[in-house]
Amino acid sequence: EPEVTQTPSHQVTQMGQEVILRCVPISNHLYFYWYRQILGQKVEFLVSFYNNEISEKSEIFDDQFSVERPDGSNFTLKIRSTKLEDSAMYFCASSGGRRFSGNTIYFGEGSWLTVV
């Protein structure tokens, strides 16, 4: 079973610090995503990425956030100047093909971010 891997699994950071969450999507997948889940709440879309650029972002994904695919395998989410309300589980996801191919969207194990 292919899998999306994420690091770190848990990070504690002080308010105002920068955090980078890393993801290795499934190889040969074309679409990459970040979602987040605040404890006990539903999963929220942050951003989608295709062909080396952001294809869509939510209202949550403001200037504090950025994504990058620095090489052929990694996909990162950077959060600048973290706030207490950024504390959440951040999920990376990837999918293989076109919209109507019915491809599953696979999620990684998540990175717990705690801002103190």
């Binding site: 539903k42 869509e56 999918s95």
Partner: protein, 112 residues
């Protein structure tokens, strides 16, 4: 804007019983997904439903999609304790987007 509502949000059932989780969505969605999440864990893909009338089954779980009613159901047959988890449905927005919109989840507890 696509909105997804699940009910019930909490479900406690006994082993061996059947139950259905409902997922309503507000506008046309290209695909409907069901995921399972164990506490503190990732989202495990259960089903992807593409078209009206689609029905998929895996073990004791069966999912269906009625696009005219904008309703998907996840039916649990003869529940066992191992099925205890939170189940999410999610719709894919239309119009070139690849964004999944999730429901709030149904926390299922199966009691021995």
């Amino acid at each position: 804007e696509l909105k997804v509502e699940q009910n019930p949000l909490f479900l406690s059932m006994q082993e061996g019983k059947n139950y259905t989780i409902y997922c309503n969505y507000s506008t046309t969605s290209d695909r409907l997904y069901w995921y399972r999440q164990d506490p503190g864990k990732s989202l495990e893909s259960l089903f992807v439903l593409l078209s009206n009338g689609a029905v998929k089954q895996e073990g004791r779980l069966m999912a269906s999609l009625d696009t005219k009613a904008r309703l998907s159901t996840l039916h649990i047959t003869a529940a066992v304790h191992d099925l205890s988890a939170t189940y999410f449905c999610a719709g894919l927005t239309q119009g070139g987007s690849e964004k999944l919109v999730f429901g709030k989840g149904t926390k299922l507890t199966v009691n021995p």
